[in-house]
Amino acid sequence: MTPEAGPGLSSETFEGSQELADRGATAPVELGREAGSVLRLPEGTGVDPSDIDVEYPDDETMIINMGPQHPSTHGVLRLMMELDGETVLRTKPIIGYLHTGMEKTGEELTYQQGATNVTRMDYLSPLNNELVFSLATEKLLGIELPPRAVWIRMLLSELQRVSSHLMWLATNGMDVGSTTMMIFGFRERELVLAFFEKTTGLRMNHNFIRPGGTAADLPDGWEDDVEAILDNVTARLASYDELLTGQPIFRERMEGVGSLSADEALALSATGPILRSTGVAWDLRRMMPYLAYDDVVFDVIVGTYGDNFDRYAIRLNEIRESVRILRQVLEKMPAGDYRVQDKKVTPPPRARIDESMEALIHHFKIFTEGFKVPEGEVYVAVESPRGELGCYIVSDGSSKPHRLHIRAPSFVNLQSLPVMMHGGLVADAVATISSVDPVMGEVDR
């Protein structure tokens, strides 16, 4: 579609098909892109059509559709693939099947309510979404959190990383064929979810990390609970190694499949385990620390070949690193307040509402109208299990955001999927999709 067709196009209804077009109907620039020429072409070079796979006229290739309802457990992702026999030539992910209008909804909810909305985007690590939203709001408010609130957030964030990577191991194992891994992963995850239920009240979509701190303090005996989880997970990780890492079938299926180079990953804005698997040691917790990550010791796991096996190994070892961080959090958790004591931002404790009129008024104002955030705009990013999760808030001085945008890592990482799948076999498609670890809730928002 050319821009001469004009902006001011709200009357125009059909901006173009989202599906994969036949080879004959595709412009050379798009063919060049799909063929893997992701990197910026040198100045003055056009894409020469004769360089592209011209030996595939239309009737020799087959366009097949995968999804949006398909048995791979990654949600409603639709993939159109062009195949030459079993080899994948071009792939086009078509998304939007879970678009929920969350950014529009975010403009209708106050900052206090915003966490309920944002938490449902990346539903495998909801606390990370709440964390980035709260950090962005606190930047705009200009408030400083008490140390205990920071460390509680870090505890929950790392536990969330453990549960998300366990879930990934489970679904990836199942995609590759190992149902045992699915049962193992979910079994371990239940331990973490039981702790979350005890602390936050819910297994998923917690709405616990809010601007100003957290909703409540940790329950008594939490150290024992966390320690039990850590010991359990550490022991069981050894059995995953036995089940998968050394196993020849698993290695054959994962090594060399879905490779990506570091330059391609940077050009495609991939972050998280995908970028680290190509050799770039970029982890926001180390490079641009937030919360108290510069007070704990941990390693950033980096791969070499950028293939599926590297991403598997990175996620497995990130669980170990998270366990290491959690043991340090257990030792170093400070005492104190779990939320900032700013009456304009933090609701008073429930007991005080019966005693003090002022507390009642503050509670009422915060929960009906919401607290006002000064005008400005801010971008904050954290390292979610999938990559860089960013939150861009534009505030107009009222109690609701003027614009809430979440930079979802899966949305951007999905762009690396066609490059990874090019030249591979269609049977590896499922394994490659799984190793990109998309969560459609945050892809579509």
């Binding site: 579609m1 098909s17 620039v29 005008e375 801010v378 971008y379 860089e388």
Partner: protein, 172 residues
């Protein structure tokens, strides 16, 4: 990873950024406000200076906003395109904000510089109606193909369905 050298990378950008308004933001990042014509060159210069990754590209509709703080010399328009660049080697972020008018909402695409801009620009197009020249496949990405309107514009309603409760005083 070496610690970021404060001067070298940003010095490289001074010639391109002469005459471009700048500001600092509460998150400590530099923000630049190029004109629409200079936008592509400014981002290209950043890319050459070591901003290897495009972290985020989105748009904002300022219709109904009471008044935003812009540096002197920047004429506010209805839409603003916000581009967040990230330098992995220098551990630095820069934000580029371009004013896009309502009537002629066309900007050059960053696809030739950063391949990762493709999906983000499609989303900005789908949600706001901003055209990107030079984009290989500017179609709707989140909404169905035949959807009318651009949902994140302020004049597009939320689409709330009235919900009936027995004792409720009325819709929120």
């Amino acid at each position: 990873m070496t610690a970021p050298t404060p001067s070298h990378q940003l010095d490289q950008l001074e010639p391109v950024l002469a005459g471009v308004a700048r500001a600092a933001s509460p998150d400590g990042h530099r923000i630049v406000f190029p004109e629409r014509d200079a936008y592509h060159d400014v981002v290209a210069a950043h890319r050459s200076a070591g901003f290897e990754m495009l972290a985020d590209l989105t748009a904002v509709d300022y219709l109904g906003h009471p008044g935003r703080t812009l540096p002197a010399g920047v004429a506010p328009e209805r839409f603003e395109l916000v581009v967040a660049l990230l330098s992995v080697s220098q551990r630095r972020r820069v934000r580029v904000r371009v004013q896009v008018p309502e009537v002629d909402a066309v900007v050059p695409s960053l696809w030739d510089l950063y391949r990762g801009a493709e999906a983000m620009e499609r989303e900005a197009f789908d949600m706001f109606g901003i055209w990107f020249t030079g984009h290989p496949d500017l179609t709707r990405i989140l909404m169905p193909e035949d959807w009318e309107g651009h949902p994140l514009r302020k004049d597009f309603g939320v689409g709330r369905v009235p919900v009936q409760f027995k004792e409720a005083p009325g819709p929120r």
